[in-house]
Symmetry: C2
């Protein structure tokens, strides 16, 4: 599931693209490996809507074949600081699963990616999940991703026909520093990506949320100047 | 996963409700077993939108605590006779997976149910999937449902905390005749449900699509008059 990306040789893939550094790096590395990439983003009632504008620009710049934004109002379920304006985004790290966790988010996103993959005739879905320098969300871990893949192969016409569906998370085992290096190697401009949980309307980062802290530490550890725009 | 429904004893459950006979029966049987039911329907670009009106009425009549309809435009992905107006609904049964299959539909629906369950603090999700008298969709089979459940327990904060998430499909092993009998036993009025893939605006059934055929045979085999409104 991780490690170097298998050559695509012109095969189609669906790539989840949030507009953050990890998914942008995943898209760039996947395009570079010869996959024809269909990028998928979600307008899910997130606070940081500016990341969708970043996703749109990144899809074009990094060579996605097409980019679709699916509107999906997860905020009607409430329950996360990322979609519920009444819950504050914390500025200090917490124990356990943080309030920025969006219920079942990667499951919902991967399910929609699976639906699109099936209609495209694609069997490969790329996601920028990372389980090293991450916020502790359960749905970023390798055993979760493997379980989703097993389910997907029982869920779909392609899977039933023996055409193996694969959930590929090429960044899952990488440190944030390694992701920063890979991003630069693949031509991703980090300043064009938005990772902050509470970016402002210009996409400038707060510098204090969990996502900002992890990202900033990645630049330091990679020994690379941090081009992120902070406010 | 199947068999008699465990007593809910006031526990919350999310119940997928399409407006068809199977999901209405699932809801009625779940309410009867003492669960507090939160019914969830999807407006997913389906041809047979009249089923959503039926779902609304059924949720109220059968005693759901609340009913939410989530808009989700799966038709942007195309690929099914149920969402793509350019693909005809077949009037004779076909071999293999039919064109009425909506890509990854149950995976998408269960994922959204999982998101809602997490915010509600519910651990049980009920679905009217059936793998006996069914159309051959891969995502109705018990091994698929078990794989989804395994994934859900790795995906969620509740699962990680050891609070087991369960996907319950009480109709999965029942014949359509047994479902018809259970529906009547639980107070479901079959004429208030819409199973037809191409029901008209009044909810009247075509009588010839796969779903109508399976349902009509259920009434015959149950020895019960078919109260379905045909056009």
């Amino acid at each position: 599931m991780s490690g170097p990306i298998e050559q695509g040789a012109g095969r189609r893939a669906v790539v989840l693209l949030s507009g953050g550094l990890d998914s942008a790096t995943t898209l760039a590395a996947t395009v570079r490996s010869g996959w024809v990439c269909h990028a998928l983003s979600f307008d899910y009632g997130q606070r940081h809507g500016v990341e969708l504008q970043a996703a749109q620009r990144l899809a074009e710049k990094l060579g996605a074949r097409e980019h679709r934004v699916l509107r999906l109002d997860l905020s009607v379920f409430g329950g996360s600081a990322l979609t519920d304006p009444s819950i504050a985004v914390p500025e200090t790290p917490a124990e356990g699963i943080p309030v920025t966790y969006v219920p079942a988010r990667n499951t919902v996103f991967l399910s929609m990616a699976l639906a699109w993959a099936e209609t495209l005739g694609a069997r490969d879905i790329f996601i920028g999940a990372n389980a090293v320098d991450y916020s502790g969300y359960p749905d970023c871990r390798p055993d979760y991703l493997a379980a989703f893949e097993a389910m997907a192969n029982l869920a779909t016409a392609a899977g039933v026909a023996g055409e193996r569906i694969r959930i590929r998370a090429p960044l899952v085992d990488l440190s944030k520093a390694a992701i920063v290096r890979l991003a630069l190697e693949c031509g991703v401009d980090p300043s064009a990506t938005v990772s902050c949980y509470q970016a402002d309307e210009q996409g400038s980062a707060c510098g204090v949320c969990d996502s900002c802290r992890l990202r900033a530490r990645g630049f330091v550890e990679a020994g690379v100047p941090d081009s992120t725009r902070y406010r």
